[in-house]
Symmetry: C2
Subunit: 229 residues, 2 copies
């Protein structure tokens, strides 16, 4: 048994469809998964829904966001952008020395198909400003159609992984692999604007070309998780 699988992952905002899909895939891969929410009741309900899909073979537990963050090694943020700052503020004391995976896309309704980044440059860079330098921040999973994650099907969308260190990106590339998707080390946290902005581009393409789950694939390179430094 791989040591990695003893890690506990907290999925904050895990009651939404994005978080549920990721939680399902990670629990299925053997990780211990905590579902966090502002409402502990909703978190418990979402956890039991995921457990049902998994037919009881794995461990998924629901609780309030701060408790989930406290108990986890890796904290994954899957909240709407409007709740990005407040959720981070509510858990930042539990994050020191941990890995934060930010899935947030700074969509600004109603123009969600237009890229509109916050002053920090991207949601992930904003997260880094909020949580401070003691926390590694990695941005990932912004472009995946989460409906697909809750099923067994292959998801035809690669994951661009950007973040504050190569080591942290390597850890998240393993999490990507555990979901069955293909991840790419896409460089420093400043590059997160590409993956976050791409969500607006894909929403635009869906609207324009009558599709529902446009994604991207990297071509011309052989995918292989790079060695950690």
């Amino acid at each position: 048994m791989n040591d990695t699988l003893m890690l506990t992952i907290a999925v904050l905002g895990g009651t939404g469809k994005e978080g549920k899909g990721l939680a399902f895939r990670w629990a299925k891969a053997g990780y211990r998964v905590l579902i966090g929410s502002r409402s502990p009741e909703k978190a418990v309900k979402a956890a039991s829904e995921i457990m049902e899909l998994l037919e009881g073979t794995s461990s998924v537990v629901g609780m309030a966001n701060p408790e989930a963050a406290e108990q986890a090694n890796i904290v994954v943020l899957t909240v709407p952008y409007a709740a990005h700052r407040s959720t981070l503020e509510s858990v930042k004391d539990s994050l020191k020395g941990k890995l934060l995976v930010d899935v947030t896309v700074p969509l600004v309704p109603p123009k969600v198909s237009k890229v509109q980044m916050p002053p920090a440059g991207s949601a992930a860079q904003e997260a880094r400003e909020i949580v401070g330098e003691d926390v590694e921040v990695v941005a990932a999973f912004q472009n995946v159609s989460y409906e697909h994650l809750l099923g067994e099907e292959d998801v035809a969308c690669d994951v661009l992984v950007t973040g504050t260190s190569k080591k942290a990106r390597g850890e998240v590339l393993r999490l990507v692999e555990a979901t069955g998707l293909t991840g790419w080390d896409a460089g420093p946290i400043e590059n997160s604007v590409v993956a976050e902005g791409l969500t607006s581009v894909l929403i635009y393409i869906n609207k324009q070309y009558g599709s529902t789950h446009a994604g991207i694939k990297i071509t011309g390179a052989r995918n292989q998780i790079p060695e950690s430094e």
Copy 2:
């Protein structure tokens, strides 16, 4: 014969490999192509090199950037970012009512694998600020390995087309089609940050995964040029 093919395209900075590759494909498709450069001599030389590749079946002429811009219907900018502003200033009086296609990526050496956008948000948005509202600006072709354009081979990289109007993006989608590549209407000019930033991501991926021409493909949508409004 299609009316489109009577259009004249000026490729400013067309002596570089990016510009030459595009000029070659467009001339081959039947467009009249002008190669622009700060040095008219270099422009003439590049034009004759392209004519040789084409075996004399098409029209490619070299001249100074301002003359090329003056004589063209569509002006394509393929200069290094350091020459972006000065080239635009040198031709802006010729651009009114025309279409400007900006291929520029705001790479900041030596960290070319880190996204570093100008204050305007992207090179294309900066171009729009310089040339003013009388010029339609479309960003495209930032992610293609131009070595491939000078050959006959298929290029496994899609082109994200963003710009100031749907009509202008539609015109550029036809130019993309003429090069043999697949283009996607990727939305308003603000979305150009994604394609420009993606170049740094692809440079990073090339370095990290030992490839030389990483690209992207859009998945999950059927490509079809949308009707103009």
